[in-house]
Symmetry: C2
Amino acid sequence: MPAWLDQIQWNIDGLLPVVTQETTSLKVLMHAWMNLEALQKTVQEGKAVYWSRKRQAIWTKGEVSGHFQWVDDIYLDCDCDTLLLMVKQTGGIACHTGRHSCFLMKLEQETWQTTEPILKNPEQIYNDPKP
Amino acid sequence: MPAWLDQIQWNIDGLLPVVTQETTSLKVLMHAWMNLEALQKTVQEGKAVYWSRKRQAIWTKGEVSGHFQWVDDIYLDCDCDTLLLMVKQTGGIACHTGRHSCFLMKLEQETWQTTEPILKNPEQIYNDPKP
């Protein structure tokens, strides 16, 4: 295995958390997970590939929606166990609910208030052909 | 339990991942974990309190270094299982290595290159009295 992959401290399930941030706006778009294969594919293909813990499968972000994340830079943290991905977000929509960011609720007076607007109806996103 | 806490989907260990971003610079500073008590304390005290998985203990960020994180806003994601904390970073140093951000290495030509400068020697941070 190449040295840069060998340095990574995977968790007990062979995964590491990934924070994805939009290069232009610096908005944090989402939080997901990668295994070794997902990280290798991300680097090879230049677009974000995650590991879906729910589906237990490799998941190319945008494969259904067309909302690919084109990778500008990849950062590793001081403990070598978390990645920060800087990306160009196709369509400006990272969230499966049709929003820019997955961090869509803000704590206000002990209530989660939705602060991110829906930019595109999810039904439209997932039924339309890819752009 | 208040409704806003009840909505949160904790993982099997009773934790949830937290992404911490600096409000002014929008720099992603670190990635950590919270349990219920840590989140309650964070909200009550207005500064970031995490759960240290290594020490299996509540951990007020800055308790030794003085580099507290004063919370401006807290966001929850679409799956209700990840938080985004917007903070003011005391001393401009979030990393225990004396750097602004924990995401200190960038992947360049298949090598992790350190891109974040050391702003203060860690020995000085952890031996000096708190500011």
